[in-house]
């Protein structure tokens, strides 16, 4: 029997961090990864043969590839992350929720703890809340349906839109792209699938909340977004996780296709608990006159390694990456972004802001690449880092590979501490030091926060305030 996953429905007996003792996992979770586990996932999901083969191929890549030790990454080999001590698939409920009423009460309680207000839930144009590995709640507003927008969990999309799915899945990030993309490709489960038809503009941001809720459970969601010509979409992904004593792993893959003249913005705020390894591969292919944007906020996790990439493939394509990182004690945010200019007259902007405190470390790691012949490229990178105390650390690793003469490329970075003069000024107006520091940090990250949807900006400011508590004095 070994590690084969069976579809069993008896009580798992697991205790969950937020005192949800009534929660039941559908299958008996098994730790570790093997060929049988991979086959088991595929079988359980009743997938077509091509997907099973895709998973197996990816699993072989995972076995073959060494851990990243070179330039890209935050020295993961220095952590005692045991890949055999992780659950690769946990199914929380047998059925997928159709309406809010169908959503299990335990999960609703979890949402309450996450502080998603009732009004906000109604505001959300289509809520996808990922609880453990499966999507349990899914609602798309009628007008989105009328517009022909497909917004569903990735597993359902594989069943319901097999041709569209197969055309794009794994084309932007092939399973052998990197060690963790291989892992995700082998065991992926859940995530969002979005198709926006030609010329359709989705007014409200589409959102999904993710949570890890089983100790030592890896979460491997897989998101695929296809924005057809001239369409417009803003997708928002947010994560929070309760704290556990041993390590968890989150390794997602996000693939986005932005066709001619389309506009996609992908916003992430991750606040994984500080024992989570967050190793994510995100990539966009941007075609002629299209715009692809990443807004990437990293507040939680133990170690994040995430460099959202934008491949500018046709003239006029524009890429933008806004990266925000905050590292507290024991955290390392190794984040940044890549803009690959593979066509002439493409432009990109990368703007990174990071704050380190306690023994926290933030690293900006980025790449700007201009292929020969990509004339008229304009690209700028701006990195600013703020250190809050003596224990914190900040690094900047920006790669630039420029193989074309007629380009305008600029990179600037600065690292500074909390300005004494600013603190003094605010304190002279009656604020205490902590309050003043909070205000300065909020001001520092403001250029990125203002790009977020309102409710996210509020949530982010709340998270920053929590992070900042007790950081001064």
């Amino acid at each position: 029997m070994g590690t084969k996953i069976e579809d069993v429905t008896k009580d798992s007996g697991y205790k969950f961090g937020w005192n949800d003792p009534d929660f039941k996992a559908v299958n008996e979770p098994v730790k570790g990864l093997s060929k049988d586990v991979v086959l088991g996932i595929s079988e359980l999901k009743d997938e077509p043969a091509w997907m099973r083969d895709f998973r197996l191929k990816a699993y072989n890549h995972w076995l073959e590839r060494p851990m990243p030790t070179g330039f890209w990454g935050g020295n993961i080999q220095n952590y005692d992350l045991d890949f055999d001590d992780i659950y690769y698939y946990v199914k929380p409920v047998a059925e997928q929720g159709k309406t809010w009423d169908d959503v299990p009460a335990e999960i609703k309680r979890t949402f309450d703890k996450l502080g998603i207000p009732e009004a906000e839930r109604k505001f959300l144009s289509g809520v996808e809340a990922q609880y453990d590995s499966e999507v349990v709640y899914h609602n798309i507003r009628e007008d989105l349906k009328k517009q022909g927008v497909i917004f569903m969990d990735t597993d359902s999309a594989l069943r319901e839109h097999p041709d569209l799915f197969r055309e794009y899945f794994g084309t932007i990030i092939p399973p052998n792209d990197n060690k963790f993309a291989s892992l995700n490709s082998a065991v992926w489960s859940g995530g969002s699938f979005i198709y926006v038809p030609k010329g359709v503009k989705v007014e409200m941001p589409l959102q999904a909340y993710f949570r890890i809720n089983t100790e030592n459970m890896g979460q491997f969601e897989r998101t695929l977004i296809i924005a057809d010509e001239g369409s417009d979409i803003h997708y928002v992904e947010g994560c929070t996780a309760p704290t556990y004593s041993s390590d968890s792993l989150h390794s997602a893959v996000v693939e986005i296709i932005v066709k001619k003249g389309a506009h996609v913005r992908y916003t992430t705020i991750q606040n994984w608990s500080d024992n989570v390894f967050n190793l994510v591969t995100k990539r966009m292919a941007v075609y002629g006159e299209a715009v692809g944007e990443w807004v990437d906020g990293n507040l939680g996790s133990k170690l994040t390694m995430k460099y959202p990439s934008t491949y500018l493939l046709e003239p006029g394509a524009h890429g933008e990456i806004l990266s925000l990182a905050m590292a507290g004690p024991g955290q390392h945010q190794d984040a940044g972004g890549k803009c690959i200019h593979a066509a002439p007259y493409t432009t990109s902007v990368i703007n990174s802001k990071s704050v380190s405190k306690g023994s926290g470390r933030t690293s900006y790691r980025g790449q700007l690449k201009v292929y020969p012949g990509a004339k008229g490229v304009k690209a700028t990178v701006r990195c600013d880092a703020l250190l809050l105390d003596e224990e914190s650390r900040s690094d900047t690793y920006p790669l630039m590979d420029i193989d074309e003469q007629h380009v305008t490329i600029g990179h600037e970075a600065s690292v500074s501490k909390l300005g004494e003069d600013q603190l003094f000024y605010l304190m002279s107006r009656g604020m205490d030091e902590a309050e003043a520091a909070k205000m300065i940090v909020n001001g520092f990250v403001e250029p990125i926060v203002k790009e977020l949807p309102m409710e996210y900006a509020v949530e982010l400011n709340r998270l920053i305030e929590l992070q900042m508590e007790g950081s001064v004095g």
Binding site: G70, L388, E390, S394, G410, A413
Partner: protein, 442 residues
Amino acid sequence: MTGTVTALPSLNRDAVEALSARFGEPEWLLKRRLEAWRLFEEAPMPDPLSEEWRRTDVSNMSLDGLAPFAPPRKAIESVAGLPAELAVFLDENEDLAGRIVQHDSDVVYETLDQDLAAKDVIVTSLQSAAREHEEIVRDSLFTAVTPAEWKYLGLHGALWSGGCLVYVPKGVEVELPIEYVAGLTAERTGIFPHLLIVAEANSSVTVIQEEISPEITGLVAGAVEVIAREGSNVRFIDVQRLGKQVQNFTTMRVLLSKDASFQGILLGLGGELTKTRLDVRMDGEGSETELLGLVFGDGDQHFAYDTRQDHVAPRTESDLLFKSVLDDSASFIWNGVVEVRRGATESAANQTNRNLLLSDKASASPTPILEISAYDVARCSHGATVGPVDDELIFYLQSRGIPADEAQEMLVDGFFAEVLERVPSERVQDRVRAVLDTKLGR
């Protein structure tokens, strides 16, 4: 001598012993050489997939058939006594405090101002210093750079010869520059020049190092060690004018004590493949560093510079400005690290890199890296740009009647001026301008 065809010595352990015997070295020095040879043999060749080497064509870094040293060269009375192919690079009458000229593996000319000699300033070949100033050499040689660092430094540790020791006693200020010239004329031969500068407390000195060669194939793998003690002031200018088929690997490290200051200027003009490492370690509180670089690449020239501004002590300051102009298929890599270690409070660091591409096939890859572990940094910043000559500037000059090609030349000159004007020797400025003019086809 140069005309005689003899079998070239082979690159092996015996060569190390033969070289040591040729210079009648003390036992401790031979031991060090053999240890370095062991390290060289153990060390791998650079990994072409690593971040550091991925844009350098390491496949043509071969030591096969390379002679580890040249036949002995006789001492000369004046610079004019050098073979013509080296003499063209140098003037006989220079305003210098001292001069050491190395031809291939031997130092052939030494001179030092008598007043300075009377003040116990030492400017001599490292080879003879190993005997005559054994204590200084023994205590300082290979303390800043070590043969274990990487393969070519292991090779250097085993095979260095000639070399130059500049020793400035406490409180002595040397006004005029001291020059160390390393010239290569032996075909398919490696030379391993070593410059050791020891500046005692509150002294000051300027040292110009020149690497020169005619158009031959060969290897120059040098090392520069600067030990600047409390309150001293060292200025160092490196002018690399090697032939375009010579490979050049140089490792430079500077150790600064309290309140010491260092200005380093690297001028990269020649060579086929140049890989230069320059680290400044600011161990002493209040020490200061200024690094300037100027590179003009044309043809297939490849230049790779790794710099490190290492802030160990509080209130240290560093500033780096590197500029490159790249024509034809030339390529330039710069990996610059600013490290501010924990406890190096109130330190300030800056790096600026500007690259001007004059051709479609030229390329530049700057990587400015900040690693900041000290909270109380005064400021740390960097910037890098890559691009052609700015059309707006051309238009401005054209609008004043200056034709476009002339405007471009003016702008290239102006681009260089920012670094060149800070070279504290007009003679060096003129030489560099002459090389630039040739490269620009003027």
